[in-house]
């Protein structure tokens, strides 16, 4: 930059006395200037790329070895701004960082879809089955209670019937005895 200023100043002070020489010198200087400009631009681009790489490497989580990130870090420290490449690299890093997460999420979702949902559905079905079984058990217990009542009633009726039967048998026996006794007496009275 300083050389460029000196050259311009020499041109101004010397005038255009020797035009050809000056033109040639000017052209040569212009070419040198253009070459230096290209070289600087390349250097600036390289620094910008390095800064982009460093910025991407240090974004969120340091991910690059020092040999890769340090030139860029120095460029950043010197005030070089990262170029558009940095955005792509950040995006790529983000993608690289998010990929396992997405994969994990995807796997989790897949696992959930593949297994947990079925398990949940089974659990729900099992819960419904348990509820149904509870209801059946309650109904069965009610039935048992009702049948126990019926059984008790029937049992009492059977016992009552048995008692009645015993009474009737006793009565039958008593009547048989009475008939036998009366027959015996009737026979004993024959011929009076």
């Amino acid at each position: 930059m300083t050389r460029l200023l000196v050259l311009v100043l020499v041109l101004v002070l010397t005038g255009c006395g020797d035009d050809e020489a000056l033109r040639a010198e000017n052209a040569r200087l212009r070419e040198a200037l253009a070459a230096q400009q290209g070289q600087r631009q390349a250097e600036l681009d390289a620094l910008a790329r390095a800064a982009s790489v460093a910025a991407a490497c240090d974004w969120l989580v340091p991910t690059c070895p020092a040999s890769v990130a340090d030139p860029g870090r120095r460029a950043l420290a010197a005030g070089v701004s990262p170029g558009p490449l940095g955005l792509w690299l950040v995006a790529s890093k983000l993608a690289v960082l998010l990929l396992p997460l997405a994969a994990a999420v995807g796997m989790g979702g897949w696992v959930w879809v593949r297994w947990s949902r079925a398990a949940l559905a089974e659990a729900e079905a099992a819960r419904a089955l348990l509820a149904e079984l509870d209801a059946r058990r309650a109904r069965a217990e009610a039935d048992i209670e009702r049948l126990r009542g019926v059984w008790t009633t029937r049992r009492a009726e059977v016992e009552q019937a048995q008692a009645k039967l015993a009474e009737l048998r006793a009565e039958e026996q008593r009547l048989r005895d009475a008939v036998a006794r009366l027959r015996q007496m009737r026979d004993g009275l024959t011929g009076l």
Partner: protein, 271 residues
């Protein structure tokens, strides 16, 4: 001839059963005297039927020995079934019986027994004695209780005292009633109720009557029919009580119970 004599000897030997003829005779005498003692009086035919079935002469022998006294019946032989004379125990006869009787069976025997003979129902009582002797002899009954013996025992209030009580194996104490004359309505109802009380079965709250069954004997179908109506289960029998002027008046009624079917026999008899 020889065979019949042998059979007669065999029968005598069987009757004696190893005892001497004198012992058998004494036993017959004792049975006859005990019979008269129990009934208060008797007749020769009844005594012989009891003491010596199939052979007569026991009563006559006891009269000759002065143990029995014979009193002619006022009706003589005019009433069929009634004895021509009635036999009672003399003082010696009473002594003879009471000498062998257990103390519990001693019943004071009246010295004027011949004047206490119920002439008005002589045939009735004689028939009861005769049938008792026969049933005892054929083993139908195992014992008997006479009205004289019953009088000395406690009985339930309002229970009919039967003409005799027979101890009937397998049955128990059977009240024997001989009905020769018809009763009027009130007497019939009272007699039926008294009989029901006497034969009522034992329950948890009632000790029962004194008898297990009753036999009502009569020669008259009409009398038996009247008794049958009075003892039909479900039939209502009127009850009576005396009013202040000692007249009977109806006081209520009783229903004949079901058990009477099992406990009463009505039997027609030939006099």
């Amino acid at each position: 001839m020889v065979q019949s004599a042998m059979r007669l000897r065999e029968r005598r030997a069987a009757a004696l059963a190893g005892r001497s003829p004198r012992a058998v005779g004494a036993e017959k005498d004792r049975a006859a005297l005990t019979w008269v003692y129990a009934w208060g009086w008797s007749s020769a035919s009844v005594i012989d039927a009891h003491a010596s079935p199939g052979r007569r002469g026991v009563a006559a022998r006891l009269v000759r020995r002065g143990l029995l006294a014979a009193t002619p019946s006022p009706s003589g032989r005019g009433v069929k079934g009634a004895p021509a004379e009635v036999l009672t125990l003399t003082a010696d006869g009473v002594a003879e019986v009471e000498a062998v009787l257990p103390a519990a069976e001693v019943i004071p025997y009246p010295s004027n027994a011949d004047r206490l003979i119920p002439w008005h129902q002589l045939r009735h009582d004689a028939l009861v004695q005769l049938w008792t002797a026969r049933r005892l002899g054929d083993g139908t009954i195992s014992g008997y209780v006479t009205p004289r013996q019953m009088a000395g025992r406690p009985s339930g209030a309002g229970e009919k005292q039967p003409d005799a009580c027979w101890r009937w194996p397998g049955v128990g104490a059977v009240a024997v009633e001989l009905e020769l004359t018809a009763k009027r309505e009130r007497e019939q109802a009272q007699a039926a109720l008294a009989l029901l009380r006497a034969i009522r079965p034992k329950t948890a709250t009632d000790a029962g009557g004194g008898y297990d069954a009753a036999v009502i004997l009569s020669h008259s179908p009409a009398i038996l029919d009247r008794w049958r109506r009075s003892l039909t289960p479900g039939e209502t029998l009127p009850t009576y009580e005396r009013d202040a002027s000692r007249h009977w008046r109806r006081a209520g009624s009783r229903t004949v119970p079901e058990w009477v079917r099992d406990r009463v026999i009505l039997q027609r008899v030939e006099l």
